[in-house]
């Protein structure tokens, strides 16, 4: 009944999922700001496939797994987490991309462990600060 207890298998699967996510993003060139920019300037629609494919696959998993399995493979139970909606979400979403150039940075956060000290990684680190800040 306690889905948030972190066991070693869960931690490993989480790490693996993060690595796979980061690998997928870099393979899809979503970590290159220039590619993302060309998408946002309507010159390259490839990233639509990345986002659409990911959302579609996630939907399959979200809808399918609770039907196929009685409970999660690593224990606990399937839960839904309804999203809350308020004015902050709109403002936050707008701020999220105010800089325009940094969609890639947000996407590349799981890659931080592998990010080299190239200019592109600076954005990742900056975004990471906000992730770590509430934990401190």
């Amino acid at each position: 009944m306690t889905p948030h207890i972190l066991t070693l298998p869960k931690a490993l699967v989480t790490l693996l999922a993060g690595a796979l996510f980061g690998f997928g993003l870099s393979l899809a060139t979503m970590v290159q700001p220039d590619v993302v920019l060309s998408f946002l300037r309507f010159q390259d629609w490839g990233l639509m496939l990345v986002m659409g494919g990911a959302a579609g696959l996630a939907m399959l998993a979200y809808k399918g797994f609770p039907r196929w399995f009685a409970r999660p493979l690593l224990g606990g139970q399937f839960l839904t987490q309804p999203a809350s909606w308020n004015r902050q979400t709109v403002i936050g979403s707008a701020i999220l991309v105010w800089a325009g150039v940094c969609r890639a940075c947000a996407q590349a956060r799981p890659l931080r462990l592998w990010a080299r000290a190239t200019p592109t990684s600076c954005g990742h680190w900056a975004a990471l600060c906000w992730v770590l800040w509430p934990m401190a």
């Binding site: 986002m51 979403s93 701020i95 150039v101 940094c102 969609r103 940075c105 900056a126 975004a127 990471l128």
Partner: protein, 70 residues
């Protein structure tokens, strides 16, 4: 080694804004776009539309502005 033509300061500013916006908006691009849309949450759809529209607008405005300066 250069991977991008985007200046470092813009990446830094963008990174901070991404982090701030993601916390304020209850989720980042992937959170709302992949997990939110994947589980058919309407608030996430609004968030995705908001940040995609803002991104399109900003990227094109930035392109026009920098072209004008150069």
């Amino acid at each position: 080694m250069t991977l991008t033509s985007v200046p470092v300061w813009q990446l830094l500013v963008g990174g901070f804004l991404v982090g701030y916006g993601a916390r304020l908006g209850n989720g980042c691009t992937s959170g709302h776009g992949i997990c939110g849309l994947g589980s058919l949450q309407l608030p996430s759809l609004s968030a995705v539309l908001t940040f995609t529209a803002t991104a399109f607008l900003t990227a094109n405005l930035m392109a026009i502005t920098t072209k004008g300066l150069a």
